[in-house]
């Protein structure tokens, strides 16, 4: 085997299945948690980057101060590891966040601990709704004088010639293709899967990178490897704040919800549940959302969010008016099956 080292750019969890050395390292990292009893420590799966900064300041440190429970982070976010640790009984993390697509699959697979929501309407598939993030259209201002307005423009390589990038994630990409094909935001769900793939065929030759990790999407936009990208809003602002000649639009932005979940049967159950409760309570969540430019989903948190933070939040009224929400419950097919088909489509 080769290529035994990787960066955060691509989620290293894969290498641990593939590469002896890395698996070994992971094994030693994981080892202490085998015998971990109900200690005063909690392991949280971290997205890194701007997410981690916001979470450390607003969630982890205050939680430790309030409860005395130390918070450790484990990177990167890995859906597979969540499954693997329930399967093996070796826990690397106790809590993690999942998006709307993954949480249904995770809950169906019995990977999530039953949980109560600390606030009304927060519970979905054994996850507690925490914050909203968006997939938005962003582009290089040194490439285009005219600003693209919507996904139809993203698909329009005549008016906007240049390399494109989208996330390698079927559940998020298919709705965008339908919008590009002229479907109205309110008529999207359930998705017309066939029509979406037909529309994707058109853009496929122009997609230079199907990005798989947040940091990677920032990098290719910042370095001008591509000219237009569908990117998470937080990762876009990272590129903008780094001084790259880039711009974005909230128009037709795709809002996803992130949920806190507790890994099934984790030995740190009590601390884990306590943390989820804390992280979705008004003040900590408001701080996290403010620092990370996320949209807080506990309505009670909104009063703690300062006005100046709102222009960068996907759920603030001005931005949300032009957005649509992923509707995983009414998605239009089995997301896992469609994801498999998407993978096959990519390789042909």
């Amino acid at each position: 085997m080769s290529n035994s080292t990787r960066s955060k750019l691509i989620r290293p969890s894969r290498r641990q299945f593939l590469h002896g050395t890395a698996a070994l390292a992971a094994g030693t990292l994981a080892a202490p948690s085998i015998g971990r009893a109900q200690s005063k420590e909690l392991y949280v799966n971290s997205w890194g980057g701007p997410w981690l900064e916001a979470a450390t300041a607003s969630l982890f440190d205050p939680f430790t101060a309030a409860t005395g429970i130390k918070v450790n982070t484990v990177s990167p976010v890995s859906f597979a590891k969540l499954a693997a640790q329930v399967r093996t009984g070796v826990y690397e993390f106790d809590v993690t966040t999942l998006g709307g697509g993954d949480i249904i699959a995770a809950n169906n697979a019995g990977l999530l601990e039953d949980i109560d929501s600390p606030y009304d309407g927060g519970l979905f598939q054994n996850g507690v709704a925490s914050h909203a993030f968006s997939t938005v259209i962003a582009w290089r201002t040194d490439k285009y004088e005219e600003a693209p307005q919507n996904w139809a423009d993203f698909w329009d390589v005549e008016r906007f010639p240049g390399g494109r990038s989208l996330q390698r994630y079927a559940a998020r990409v298919l709705p965008l293709a339908l919008l590009a094909d002229g479907v109205a935001m309110e008529d999207l769900y359930p998705l017309d899967i066939e029509r979406a793939f037909a529309k994707l065929d058109e853009i496929k030759p122009h997609i230079r990178v199907w990005w798989t990790a947040g940091a990677q999407s920032t990098q290719i936009l910042r370095d001008g490897e591509i000219d237009m990208i569908g990117i998470w809003h937080g990762r876009y602002f990272e590129a903008e704040d780094a001084g790259a000649p880039v711009a974005m639009t909230w128009n037709q932005s795709e809002v996803d919800r992130a949920y806190w979940v507790v890994a099934k049967n984790t030995p740190n159950m009590d601390a884990a549940k306590e943390f989820v409760k804390f992280a979705t309570s008004p003040e900590p969540l408001a701080g996290f959302a403010t620092l990370g430019n996320y949209g807080a989903l506990n309505p009670a948190a909104l009063e703690f969010v300062p006005d100046e933070a709102k222009p960068r939040m996907p759920t603030s009224p001005d931005n949300y008016a032009n957005a649509f929400e992923q509707d995983m419950a009414n998605w239009g097919g089995d997301p896992q099956e469609v994801a498999l088909r998407f993978d096959e489509w990519l390789a042909t």
Partner: protein
């Protein structure tokens, strides 16, 4: 192997084998056991049976990716040979000092981590990188993107794997008795004929060693194609990662890993029957 083992036990003390015990235990725990686990998963997940293997052999995607993996490994091996052979020849026919210098340059790149080299190619081949800049300087407006293509991933893999080829061929070339060449010349062999009948057959073991090593290592490549390659040219390792990471298809991923392993063993087996595996490491 067995023959050698009995001979060693017979003629030497038991001590060398005791010294190997920690290694054996280590291999058993960290290699054999997980491997058996993978084998088991491939026939038990999600339900017992050979369904996963059936999928690997009949699914259009998997066949395509396996073929692509072989195509890429072959291409990389051939490129390594084209680059490596002349370089090894140069090294074995120059002053020892110059040979040392070349060797040093090759090993320096060899010791640099995979990831650093892969990122270095990203910088070099990027839209704002020096190569695109050079292409533009010589007057080609709007040059094609070099990054995220089959070209960029092949180039980087050849760069990473060429040292294996060069070292193997060089070590064989160094051992060629110059007298053989001179006598061939005295018999009237010249240029192409000398190369075809004398030099090439003498270096063939080095080529075979280098080619097998490069090919087998390349089959399992992961990072470089994922970071530098085009999404259309996936390799098996990347696909296995995807099965597990995205679809939690541990069974299918394991089955693909087993198939890849068996194919690799077959390649090594063919090599073994022709040359003997013990020669692979010089």
């Amino acid at each position: 192997m067995m023959r050698r083992m009995t001979r060693l036990v017979d003629h030497q003390t038991i001590w060398p084998w005791l010294l190997l015990l920690p290694l054996a235990v280590y291999l058993l725990v960290f290699f054999a056991v997980p491997l058996i686990e993978v084998l088991k998963m491939s026939v038990t997940e999600p339900k017992p049976g050979l369904g996963n293997y059936q999928k690997v052999f009949t699914g259009a995607l998997y066949g395509k990716v396996f073929l692509n993996t072989f195509g890429t490994a072959t291409l990389v091996t051939v490129c390594c040979l084209i680059v490596g052979y002349p370089l090894a020849y140069l090294m074995s026919n120059t002053t020892p000092r110059r040979a040392m210098m070349i060797l040093l340059l090759i090993t320096m790149s060899f010791w640099t981590s995979f990831l650093v080299r892969t990122y270095a190619w990203m910088v070099l081949l990027g839209n704002n990188g020096p190569i695109i800049w050079l292409i533009e300087m010589i007057g080609i407006a709007d040059p094609p993107g070099l990054l995220f293509t089959r070209f960029s991933s092949t180039l980087a893999m050849v760069h990473i794997l060429a040292p294996y080829m060069i070292m193997n061929i060089y070590s064989v070339m160094k051992k060629i008795d110059p007298v053989l060449i001179r006598s061939a010349e005295s018999m009237g062999a010249r240029g192409g004929s000398l190369f075809r009948h004398i030099y090439l057959p003498l270096t063939a073991p080095g080529i075979a060693n280098g080619a097998v090593l490069v090919f087998v290592i390349c089959l399992g490549f992961y990072v470089t194609p994922v970071l530098l390659g085009s999404p259309r040219e996936q390799m098996v390792a990347g696909l296995i990662g995807n099965q597990i990471e995205q679809f939690l298809a541990f069974g299918l991923g394991s089955a693909m890993a087993v198939v890849l392993l068996v194919i690799t063993l077959i390649v090594l087996g063919i090599y073994h029957s022709r040359f003997g595996l013990d020669k692979l490491w010089g």
